[in-house]
């Protein structure tokens, strides 16, 4: 009596293992892409804070360190004066470094903290890239240099 029970148990175990394996395989096949998680899209928002000064022009350089990031689009800022897509080097292919700049001759200009640009990225791989910003130029409406702080997220 014991032997048939043991045999049944081992057969059951074997079937369960088989079913599990089949489920794993089936899951793998039904998933649309095995690398969906490996390729994803995200955006990097760049904020400048000019305090009480009006911001009329800016230029910064963005570096990506770690991970594999590629630029797939470049968007303007939240304020109407910087809503249009900024200038960049169209040959900035690798995406780990890009210079972005814009100006506005509008009468209404942003003060305080404002998002001036959004950079759309395609990230490949599990590693999360980090971004650094180097401010190169920030100007007020009369062309005078103004001090700002920068932030990206």
């Amino acid at each position: 009596m014991k032997r048939p029970v043991a045999r049944t148990l081992s057969l059951s175990c074997f079937i369960m293992v088989l079913a599990f394996a089949a489920a794993v395989v089936a899951h793998g096949q039904s998933a649309p892409r095995s690398d969906v998680q490996a390729v994803r899209f995200e955006s990097v928002d760049v904020f400048l804070d000019s305090s009480t000064h009006k911001l009329a022009a800016y230029q910064f350089e963005l570096f990506a360190t770690g991970g594999h990031a590629e630029i797939v689009g470049l968007e303007g800022g939240e304020h109407k004066a910087f809503a249009h897509a900024p200038y960049y080097d169209p040959a900035a292919l690798q995406g780990d470094r890009v210079i972005v700049a814009a100006y506005s001759i509008d009468a209404e200009l942003p003060t305080g903290k404002t998002r001036v640009a959004r950079i759309h990225m395609q990230i490949t791989g599990a590693e999360v890239p980090e971004y650094q910003i180097k401010i190169m130029e920030t100007l007020g409406p009369g062309g005078e240099k103004i001090a700002v702080t920068a932030e990206s997220r």
């Binding site: 960049y88 080097d89 900035a92 470094r97 001759i105 190169m136 130029e137 100007l139 062309g143």
Partner: protein, 130 residues
């Protein structure tokens, strides 16, 4: 600036006219008469060539062309460095944009874009330091 004339020199034109005249069958007697005249013609052509060589200046002025297309500015050492601070940045484009907004119609939006693109150019690592 060269003298403005858009024509071939007359002697050359005459030769080309002669060369391009459609061929016709020529009676033998006329042919021989032409042959007799040929030496004289060759001599004339020699003189004409000499004349052509000696009037290179005239031919140079005569033969075509001049230059038009003259839009505005003369380049400095770096024509995109509008502020003359040794660099090209968005400040240079902004300077032009303010001038245009103030009514300077000699500055086109394309020119402003040109300077702005120069400012953001990556390529050789010089970036905006030019």
């Amino acid at each position: 600036m060269a003298k403005e004339r858009d024509n071939l020199p007359d002697p050359l034109l005459a030769r080309l006219r002669q060369a391009g005249t459609p061929q016709r069958s020529i009676p033998a007697e006329i042919d021989s008469a032409i042959l007799q005249d040929a030496h004289a013609a060759i001599a004339r052509r020699r003189r004409m060539r000499l004349f052509l060589r000696s009037s290179v200046g005239l031919a140079a002025a005569a033969c075509v062309l001049l230059v038009v297309g003259l839009w505005s500015f003369m380049p400095g050492r770096n024509s995109n460095d509008i502020n003359h601070d040794g660099r090209t940045t968005i400040a240079d484009a902004f300077t032009l944009a303010r001038k245009r907004a103030a009514g300077d119609n000699t500055i086109t939006q394309e020119r402003i874009d040109q300077v702005a693109y120069a400012a953001v150019h990556l390529d050789d690592g010089r970036g905006a330091t030019r």
